[in-house]
Amino acid sequence: MKRTIGLGIIFIGFLAVGLIAGPFVVLKVKVQTANIHSEPEISSGVIAQVKIGTMHESSNKVGDFYEISITDKDGRTVYGFLHASVVEVLVTKEEKVTEEEEKAKEPEPKPEVKPQRVEPAYAGFKRKGLGLYVGGSSTSDYGSGLAFGANFYFGITKKIGIEVGLLRFQAMTKDNDDIEKISKGKLAVIPLQISLMARFPVGAKIVPYVAGGAGYYLNKFTLDGNLVKSWSDLGLDLNETIDHAVGYHFGAGLDYFFNPRIAIAANVKYCRFTAKGSWALTDTGTGIVASGKLSNLKLGAIIFGIGMKYAF
């Protein structure tokens, strides 16, 4: 219970920080042709150019550079950096723009080049970020339990990303006499997963995605205390272990960016791994052991979570 409350506090704190964080500006190019650099350094390569009068949004300033994104001639989203000397900061998004100011802007000269469509540079397209989730798991064979985890993602492009995650979920396994299954107890699983994400942004704020990948599953199994005691009363020690295993997963999620850096994230993921294990029943009087291997424990879990993502 304390653990659950603690996780809730962390979650709320993270949410509050997200709500107050992040500068957000609209830039207007004030030189005839401005270079977009690949890195926030003047010596870095020029990956594109924009014309005077074009406007761009930026939520990230690195030194004297503003990070923006444009769509190139092939339709790809290109991220880059404009030097502060070539742009004019018009307004932050939070500032209220009065009608007078709007009207005052109307006489501004039209750009000489055809304005390019400006993509909002929301965090979902950022190159890296961190997410925290809390939720539940429902294992197909062994019941349900609490799940939580964290991940780090890295956007290769606007639509493709890589995610590395660490989860923890557990299930209360059922009592059964199936020699191929785990006995009654608690199975805790910590999967270390790497996923390839395919993102399908809808506008600037909503980013659905699908993901899939592989993982290494750290398993810890604890037999039910009453079960152990019932055998102990008969003079027999009962032990079971589940080995770590390699598995795969796939799933889908949805990020909603209410702020360029902060998103509410929800996802559902199916994890599947085949583990090995062992069991042993030992007569305490004679030391005679009956033991065996569990060679084909097909463990699957559907994990659903909701949490926050922070892009940086």
């Binding site: 009592d175 006499d177 199936d178 020699i179 006995s183 079960l227 019932s230 055998w231 009363d233 008969l234 003079g235 027999l236 009962l238 069991w279 029943l281 007569d283 305490t284 009087g285 004679t286 005679i288 009956a290 065996g292």
Partner: protein, 599 residues
């Protein structure tokens, strides 16, 4: 008070005390009780009562009561002329049935009130023909030879029933048996060896801790029910107990020639009830037989069915050398070699057994049990049947199929005490010329009056003084000269059998009748002891006593642990041995009283 009054009161006091002491003489109590009790009901109830009485009063220290009641003069002076049977290839008892006039004076016996307890057959009798067929020979050779013998049987008017290796069981006209014996492929013709169901006598409840095991869920067994077979003589009434005292469904099969699973015998049903009480989650087989040949076939079938545990509350005498060999023990060996647990009652013959080396101090060819006493006597109520068996240590080598045989020839005699003297009733004087078993058997007889009976042994042609062994069959007799040690029934002596002695469920005291080790080759037996006395529907609210009740407890314990755990049966054997409650001498209690509880 004057002196005369003191003397008078003293005399009265002493007289009263004397009357009280006399009236409380244990022998008097026993005698009166027996006289009053044995006329009171059906034979089975009498049997149970007598067991209770013996248990209550025949504790060590009280045994001295009975010898004084035996007839003092048992020296045989009227040595009868020994009448051997005509063909050494025919069992002596069978010869008597073929030519009864040559052996038994039935009219004289009837005049005394003595009768055979079995009917002399009319025209045909069930026999076993032992042939020269070598079961280890090629299958084709065995088949052809068996068919030759079978054709000969049928040509002489016989009817084939069943067979096993070199044994052919058939119905044979009495008049044709001697002709059949002359066939070159026939080595011996005998009546079938018949087992005995071990006795039901008292009450009790198991206290093995099985109930605690029953409450836990099975672990790593896959939910597979253990297969336990109750191999017995009959299962009368089993149908009405399905779903209550027995599992809802059971597998049944009769190996009797008449396929009768319920031949007026509830003994097997009661044993099955105990197995089910101990191990409720069981795949139970009820299988019966009545002869040695039928048992061989039954055991083969049980093996083919994948039976894991056999509960066997049956005992045999004269069926082996007591060293774990012989055709009945061979069945146990065959099962044990395949990992089958054979829970076997040790027998109820502790006080119905005598063994000793032949000795005739007076040189008259009659064995002297003690001093000049040549009859080993026992008391028997009227209308109770009696038989007896004699064997001696000259079996020869057991090769897995046959014994080498004996060339020491002893004979066996049954006497009855009537009008102050012993009278010959019956005898068994088969040939032992080198190939025959060293056995003689007499049975069954009864009298319409309470009296003593006795067995005598004479030597006919011997090369040495052999070690002799007597078992009394068919009643709960206490022999005047008995040998507690070595009183195991067959196949409790088999190395592959787990022999079970009987202990009182409440006190853990060994029941007086429980057969004891060692085996004739010196191995400790029984292997376990187990409670005798669980109320069963078959025997009503009274109890099921005897090692018959003990063996199914052990079989059920194996089944229960097999049902609950993934242990192998050999591991379960070791665990049960470790958990057994130590009670004392291994030849009385085995390793201890059966317990499933941790120590």
């Amino acid at each position: 008070m004057n002196k005369s009054k003191v003397c008078l009161w003293t005399i009265i006091f002493i007289a009263a005390l004397t009357i009280i002491l006399v009236s409380y003489n244990p022998a008097t109590i026993l005698d009166e009780f027996l006289k009053n009790s044995h006329n009171t009901g059906i034979p089975e109830i009498q049997k149970m009562n007598s067991f209770k009485i013996k248990f209550a009063l025949y504790e060590p220290g009280n045994l001295a009561i009975l010898p004084n009641k035996f007839p003092s003069n048992s020296n045989i002076i009227d040595v009868p002329k020994v009448q051997k049977n005509l063909s050494p290839k025919i069992e002596f008892g069978l010869s008597k049935l073929i030519h009864p006039e040559a052996f038994v004076d039935l009219n004289k016996l009837r005049a005394m009130g003595v009768y055979p307890a079995i009917d002399f057959p009319g025209t045909a009798i069930q026999v076993v023909v032992e042939s020269v067929i070598d079961p280890k020979a090629s299958a084709t050779g065995v088949f052809l030879a068996a068919n030759l013998v079978r054709n000969q049987i049928e040509a002489l008017g016989g009817r084939y029933e069943t067979s096993h290796e070199n044994l052919i069981q058939c119905q044979m006209p009495l008049a044709s048996i001697e002709a059949l014996a002359q066939g070159p492929l026939v080595t011996f013709i005998r009546r079938p060896y018949r087992p005995k169901a071990l006795a039901v006598t008292s009450e009790g409840v198991a206290k093995t801790g099985a109930n605690k095991w029953q409450s836990v869920a099975s672990y790593r067994t896959g939910g597979v029910k253990p297969k336990i077979a109750v191999l017995d003589l009959g299962f009368s009434g089993y149908g009405s107990k399905l779903g209550s005292e027995l599992p809802p469904s059971v597998t049944v099969r009769s190996f009797r020639a008449d396929n009768n699973l319920t031949p007026n015998q509830i003994h097997g049903t009661a044993c099955a009830e105990i197995v089910y009480d101990m191990c409720p989650n069981v795949n139970l087989y009820l299988v019966n037989f009545s002869t040695d040949v039928e048992q061989h076939n039954a055991v083969n079938w049980l093996i083919s069915e994948g039976i894991q545990i056999i509960s066997y509350s049956i005992g045999w005498t004269n069926a082996g050398d007591g060293r774990g060999t012989g055709p009945i023990c061979e069945d146990v060996k065959k099962a044990a070699d395949r990992g089958i647990i054979w829970a076997c009652s040790a027998g109820n013959s502790a006080e119905e057994h005598w063994e000793g080396t032949f000795s005739s101090a007076d040189g008259d060819s009659w064995h002297n049990y003690s001093g000049s006493d040549e009859i080993n006597s026992f008391y028997l109520y009227k209308n109770h049947s009696v038989g007896g068996s004699l064997n001696w240590d000259d079996w020869g080598i057991w090769n897995g199929t046959v014994y080498g045989g004996s060339n020491n020839d002893y004979d066996f005699w049954l006497y009855i005490y009537y009008s102050g003297s012993w009278h010959l009733v019956d005898w068994s004087a088969g040939w032992q010329t080198g190939g025959q078993w060293p056995t003689e058997w007499i049975g069954y007889w009864y009298a319409n009056f309470d009296t003593y009976w006795g067995f005598a042994i004479s030597k006919f042609d011997t090369t040495r003084n052999c070690k002799l062994e007597i078992f009394v069959d068919g009643n709960d007799s206490l022999l005047r000269y008995y040998s507690l040690a070595g009183s195991l029934d067959i196949p409790a002596d088999a190395p592959g059998a787990l022999a079970v002695g009987a202990t009182d469920w409440n006190t853990d005291v060994l029941h007086y009748y429980s057969s004891r080790g060692p085996t004739h080759d010196g191995r400790n037996k029984p292997d376990f002891s187990a409670p005798s006395g669980v109320s069963t529907a078959s025997y009503g609210a009274t109890a099921f006593y005897g090692t018959s009740a003990s063996a199914p407890h052990l079989a059920g314990a194996f089944g229960l642990m097999k049902d609950k755990t993934p242990y192998s049966l050999s591991d379960i054997t070791k665990i049960l041995q470790a958990r057994a409650v130590y009670l004392g001498d291994a030849n009385l209690y085995g390793i201890g009283r059966l317990s499933l509880e941790k120590k």
